[in-house]
Symmetry: C2
Subunit: 422 residues, 2 copies
Amino acid sequence: METYLIFKDLAIVIFAAEVFGLLARKLKAPQVVGQIIAGLLIGPSVLGLVNLNDNNSAIAYLAEIGVMLIMFSAGLETNLKDLLNTGLLSLIIACVGVFVPLIGGFLLFSFFYYGGIPAAGSKEFFEAVFMGTIMTATSVGISVQVLKELGKLKSKVGQIILSSAIIDDVIGIVVLTFVMSLSGEGGGESKGIGRVCLDVVLFFVFTIVLGIIIYNVFKLLNKKYSHHRRLPILGLAFGMIMAYCAEALFGIADITGAYAAGIILCNIKDSDYVAEKMDINSYMIFGPIFFVSIGLKTQFDGMTSDILIFSLLFVVVALATKVIGCGTIAKLAKFNFRDSLKIGVGMMTRGEVALIVASKGLAIGLVDQKYFAAVILLIICSSIATPIILKLLFKGDKDDSGSGGEKTEQIAENSAPAPAQS
Amino acid sequence: METYLIFKDLAIVIFAAEVFGLLARKLKAPQVVGQIIAGLLIGPSVLGLVNLNDNNSAIAYLAEIGVMLIMFSAGLETNLKDLLNTGLLSLIIACVGVFVPLIGGFLLFSFFYYGGIPAAGSKEFFEAVFMGTIMTATSVGISVQVLKELGKLKSKVGQIILSSAIIDDVIGIVVLTFVMSLSGEGGGESKGIGRVCLDVVLFFVFTIVLGIIIYNVFKLLNKKYSHHRRLPILGLAFGMIMAYCAEALFGIADITGAYAAGIILCNIKDSDYVAEKMDINSYMIFGPIFFVSIGLKTQFDGMTSDILIFSLLFVVVALATKVIGCGTIAKLAKFNFRDSLKIGVGMMTRGEVALIVASKGLAIGLVDQKYFAAVILLIICSSIATPIILKLLFKGDKDDSGSGGEKTEQIAENSAPAPAQS
């Protein structure tokens, strides 16, 4: 019956997120950076005002709903035609964006701890492979939010970053399962690479079949209830079902399911209206809590100089490999240098997926607890660096995002009055 | 890391709430009734699709935030002048609305189980007193939502119901503590009647002092950021802080704190704009979850015919005593019969407070687990009966709720398109 205790933490989180988000904007940085730093400050690593312990699962739940809402409305604001046009390129970028960091992490760990590549198949070998695997998955949530703030989500570059990051998640999961089944440590976790690929295929089939049905249902609903609250409410329920099914039925990240749900609805007449209602829920409570919680998760105790050096190298390699890998492909695909760099940087961010991979590694004894500091440092650095660099790169470009982008830019623009309808 | 599991339950809850809310409206009943019934159906007592076990605290948290949001925006939509005008009358109605049920419950239990009044001071005596205490507190959340749906929240009758229910909560807490300290069973729980009265006074002083400061801060913010998302966000943070402080510092229900926060901000220029943003959060996710969760909490196992009969009498007495007690005072205050009945019926609803009182009684050994069925039955019946009767009573009245009421009526009106700005 002590549920009232959550209000203290929630109030602190929401207030800090708002204040530091504003501060970040005044310093011309995206507000998500401010919100993550707010989490660092109020979290255990500095002030310790809010702690993510078991009594505090409320924040974890709200953060999970937050990232789900962000991905869902990202899907809603997707231009399906563009996504399909950029599909092949995104696929290639995603693959390279997985394998270059995988190799980079493998080499870093091997040479840092063993001065060379351990015998293939040995425990050391798989430890090194796993360290690389942690580096693979881009966290799309942060990039999406930044692209929204910049009003570039619907731009070609934005679409490529978004779809690559999504595909990248899927490939990351395949790689993880591959490594785990090879290392024979998977136990209950492991389900075999064949099964994983099958699941991925089945998920796409499931999404397409269900998508066609649901899309037509919503088209009818939209006719009957134009600009009516029923659409966002039922849309939200559908997004949540997809998030659940993706993970429960196919072992694919729930955020990927939410994004797919958004894409399914992105062509209904009121998709902007639905997305806008999601945004209001998102910016009022759920979104800030998600970004603050990244900072809250951070703890810097138990840091030895040895781990510290490794962590810093880990971060550098993880960021560099994504930028070089993805950027190179973009350049080969005839993007100019600046846009290629945007795509590379947009793929830099790591998030909860990296933590999930690391904890799976911990569970099967291939990753030591002490390396979590490195993973968290990577999440923090990439979450802070990516938005700033992306904003600098986009600055001065003329807007190529279309009206939708404009709208989201306005809605996200904190120091300008929100438009009447938001 | 299994947070994705919440999405299944949330999707079911949101979908069921929407469908049955719509169904209720088609049957000319308020949609909250549909939502509570939806909870009954999907909950353990019927289909068992969603269970409120420990793994599912997400729904409990969201429901708590939901009732907090409802109370906060109820405060925002309060007409402070009317509240002060109705203050004394509300106080009297609240007092009578506490003591008549208290005596009713005491007599029912005494005669049902002991065929007469037990010796004062005996355990049986305090068991009977406690059964009455459970009946005292009106649950304002449901009445508020219904009055909003009917667009009568700002009407004189609506204001009296609302403020009486609020005062009634406070008196209920005083009575509870009084009984517990008298019965000498309180233990850590009990803090003495003097202390309780002091806390209530201190809470009002705290609210007034803080209120004057915060009100002026928000007046300045409102000047700087008219119709800007910053106002609802900071308002929400303030509402949550007040909810926390009320319960943590003064032992007063968190919803009372949230309502006080709303009243503090009800006179800023953009109070309607802030309330509207709260409503969007509330109707999309939190509100439905709160009302569905009332149904979810219900379990009818372990029902003996003995308990069943007592439960039914318990419900009848609890409802009748409120209607008669509060209605009579209203009639004496020169309200016509119909309006007096509205006030009496509006005070009938019981909710989480009754459950809290019962569980405190369980904790100190004055209430047996088996009587929880009676309490839950009371919550269900009153939650379903009150909205229907209120709607019937208000039907045919000409609207006396002012534009604010009109707006909320529109917003709540599910089968009419939501206004552009919602």
